[in-house]
């Protein structure tokens, strides 16, 4: 089903999204990938505050290429989400509602998503040029020294994504492959 949703995402909307839905996201989302996740995780372990409140928010696993003059951002497609699996449950427990990336998630993440009513979206990997057109504003809000891995606050319009894992743990990567498998 095609749906238009806004970010941040409230609990009710997140729970209504089903594995296989094609969504267009409009609103504010945040970027973070490997190095930023490591830092956020270490901050939480030390009892420090995160650079932004993750509650009801969406994290886009993405590190852009540099912006050319007059553009908000460079190429901006998803990176592999699996690498963030170690850190994701801690953020989900704090109310993170959505993650955008590509690639499989491990069971610890799925369990935490079910517990917290969160959604995992895939954007099309390797489509960084077209996806950058949906990003209207971009601002580094933390960890500037990490370069492409800094945390950015983005404003996106009709950003296309597919619900891969919903809040009940249904995983499109598993179900869709079986549908087209021929032995």
């Amino acid at each position: 089903m095609e749906k238009k949703i806004t970010a941040p995402i409230d609990d009710k909307t997140a729970r209504e999204l089903k594995s296989g839905d094609y969504v267009y996201i409009t609103g504010t989302i945040y970027t973070a990938r490997d190095a930023a996740h490591k830092r956020m995780y270490e901050a939480l372990e030390k009892g420090e505050k995160l650079p932004f409140d993750v509650k009801d928010n969406v994290i886009y696993y993405m590190g852009p290429s540099p912006a050319r003059e007059g553009r908000p951002i460079g190429s901006a497609g998803p990176t592999t989400a699996t690498r963030m699996d170690k850190y994701a449950p801690a953020l989900l427990d704090l109310g993170l509602k959505g993650m955008i990336g590509k690639g499989k998630r491990r069971q610890n993440v799925k369990d935490s998503m079910i517990k917290n009513g969160a959604v995992y979206f895939a954007a099309v990997g390797g489509a960084g040029a077209i996806l950058s057109k949906c990003i209207r504003e971009s601002e580094v809000i933390a960890y500037d020294d990490l370069g492409t891995e800094a945390i950015r606050k983005l404003y996106v319009e009709d950003f296309p994504a597919i619900v891969v894992i919903d809040s009940e743990g249904n995983d499109l990567y598993e179900t869709s492959v079986l549908e087209y498998k021929k032995e």
């Binding site: 190429s75 040029a129 296309p160 498998k181």
Partner: protein, 280 residues
């Protein structure tokens, strides 16, 4: 003896880095277009259309096809009658990468040490493979490699008794494990034979062969076709979201090996299988 100034190498590598991340070779473009016609899944077709549009935007607006503009892998085939002048060849290559990634607005994705992990800020150093060949020409291949698919690549030290069936299972298991993480439709580069490092090199090199060109060795060409068919029956599909287009090609290179071994390397590349080639 032919003299070549190293700054000519720098200039070419700079241009080739920028070219490779914005434009795919014709064989890759064709593979994408024909896949759109044969893909069985409606969502798969939608993803392939998005990739086609992405490619057009990349070239028109000079936005890299993928934000992961890779680690620069460079193959240099140097004619043995060439003499480089004006400085170190290696420094000249890295200077080309530095200029290309900085002036071309490409992402700097390289850290100086695998454990300490500080970004070098200019995407150097490159991974350089030199080969000395007869003649007085220099053939440069710049192949920026993204790590979504690189992380899903595998080496298997099979034994002679595993035979061709073992090789097939190794290839299929690497692809199955890679699934959506490697950004399918993928190109599968395979190296069979040699030693531990030689088969990995061959697998990487195989990715630079056009996807519409089969091996000249008959049994290898047959193996390439059989593997492609099996991979496209796996159901993984575009984006790993189900479908009949999981790979565009399986390119296999072979080499002599030891009586006790059968090394197999599977180097997976996403649909952004980039390389620029020039001969000086």
């Amino acid at each position: 003896m032919r003299e070549i100034e190293v700054r000519e190498i720098t200039e070419n590598i700079k241009e080739m880095c920028i070219e490779a991340v914005h434009f795919l070779t014709d064989d890759m473009k064709e593979a994408l277009l024909s896949a759109k016609k044969s893909e069985e899944s409606p969502l798969g077709r939608k993803i392939l259309e998005q990739l086609e549009e992405n490619l057009a935007i990349a070239g028109e607006d000079m936005i890299p096809i993928c934000q992961d503009t890779g680690m620069a892998v460079i193959f240099l085939e140097i004619g043995q009658d060439v003499h480089f002048t004006g400085g170190s060849l290696k420094d000249a290559i890295n200077e080309g990468v530095r200029q290309g990634y900085t002036e071309g607005f490409l992402r700097k994705s390289v850290v100086s040490d695998p454990i300490i992990r500080e970004n070098t800020g200019d995407n150097t150093p490159a991974v350089i493979h030199y080969d000395i060949v007869p003649g007085d020409k220099v053939r440069i291949t710049v192949a920026p490699k993204g790590f979504g698919s690189e992380n899903m690549s595998r080496i298997y030290m099979l034994k002679p008794a595993d035979g061709i069936e073992g090789v097939k299972e190794a290839i299929l298991s690497a692809v199955r494990e890679a699934g959506p993480n490697a950004c399918p439709p993928m190109v599968v580069g395979v190296g069979i034979g040699g030693t531990f490092e030689k088969c990995a090199y061959l697998a990487k090199k195989a990715l630079t062969r056009p996807v519409n060109e089969r091996s000249k060795t008959e049994y290898v060409a047959k193996l390439e076709e059989e593997m492609l068919d099996k991979i496209n029956r796996s159901g993984i599909g575009p984006g790993g979201l189900g479908g009949s287009t999981t790979a565009f090609a399986v390119n296999i290179e072979t080499y002599a090996t030891h009586i006790a071994g059968l090394p197999v390397a599977v180097n997976i590349c996403c649909h952004v299988n980039r390389h620029a080639v020039r001969e000086l």
